[in-house]
Symmetry: C2
Subunit: 228 residues, 2 copies
């Protein structure tokens, strides 16, 4: 094998990864799987794809070694294999946020326009936690909270928040987080809290970004085999 063939083969192998990442639905699936493991049907539900189409996208990701799969009961559970897959996705996401003006515009336009939603970085977030006087609010679905969450956070899924506002202390600043920077639950939660007279702000990124830098994670063990 000569040098040119070698290079071509190496880049061709690497492009299998980028080809697998080159579809918007598959990116969304990866961001979803960063929260934990999901069955095909659940992924289809979350991404508004047909089950057959979801399955095909998952095959593409599996062939590129970007997801692992195990059977649990009747369900195939897909998950991200390493932190490295999330790290690659994160670096692409950050590149997009920094570089593509359209993304910034989309996010800003879509965020609750009435309330200026403020956000903090993970570093600033940690400083505020250390200083006390903050309540950490996880607004993701309960199963995702159970699969892993920031220690001492309170789980109130967004669709229950309106009814459970009293559980939150009014004196503290409330910092809400969800799946990632494009997850709008946190924005909506902050808007709702501000309207109800709370002091609230969102974490810019999401739970996986917290976990990937090695910060502590709390897991609730629940046997949810076959359901999640």
């Amino acid at each position: 094998m000569n040098k040119k063939d070698f290079k071509n083969k190496v880049y061709s192998e690497l492009s299998k990864i980028t080809k697998a990442l080159s579809n918007p639905h598959r990116l969304e699936i990866i961001e979803l799987l960063a929260q934990g493991d999901y069955s095909v049907e659940q992924i289809a539900l979350q991404t508004s794809l047909s089950v057959a189409n979801t399955s095909q996208h998952l095959q593409v990701l599996k062939n590129a070694q970007l997801v692992d799969v195990t059977r649990i009961g009747n369900f195939m559970h897909y998950r991200l294999p390493h932190t490295n897959v999330f790290k690659a996705w994160k670096s692409i996401r950050e590149l997009g946020i920094e570089r593509i003006a359209a993304i910034d515009k989309l996010v800003n336009d879509f965020r609750q326009p009435k309330y200026k939603i403020e956000s903090v970085s993970i570093d600033e977030f940690r400083r505020r936690i250390a200083s006390g006087r903050v309540t950490i609010l996880d607004v993701r679905p309960e199963t995702e909270f159970n699969a892993g969450h920031i220690p001492n956070s309170i789980s109130i899924p967004f669709d229950q928040l309106q009814d459970r506002l009293r559980e939150l202390p009014k004196r503290n600043e409330i910092i809400a987080y969800c799946r990632g920077p494009f997850c709008v639950f946190a924005d909506e939660a902050v808007a709702m809290l501000i309207q109800a007279g709370y002091k609230a702000i969102r974490l810019q990124e999401g739970f996986p970004d917290w976990a990937v830098v090695g910060l502590p994670v709390k897991v609730n063990h629940k046997n949810n085999y076959g359901r999640n």
Copy 2:
């Protein structure tokens, strides 16, 4: 705009980046541009593509905001805009090296089989530099060396190495580096040096990996407008 449209649009924008990365030639171009700026013709030469085809690939990268371009004389010079583009490429590259067995196999099979080429990480490399007694050898083309190199390294492009072996001290350990982990110049240089009785080893990664983590970089200012 509802939540679903928002998500679709965000992931669709992000997939413009991954689509632009989803071609082996474009990955090779990015790795090349990490060394400095190049004209279209030079990129075509390095990648063994036709000029027209190279230009089209560059348009794709430009539309995805992954490269910047300026005219210098008759030549269009392409370059990577930020460290972020290289960082994203690096994380994909590392994901591939870790995850795709075929890549590891390709690299191992292609490396000079007669001599076991050993490599050091950047951290270990720095420790050895600090301890003295090492000679740092840059085997890339001279223009790339001039565009940026590791301080105190000696530039001997690989194709001149055989004739210039005497310039290297035999007492020191020689650590060779080139463009990146898939650049075989460093391997060949190490093999040549070992055969000539030197103690030699390669840096696992390349110059851009050194630069991207903020380590010092030396630049030789040379007016090579129109030539590089």
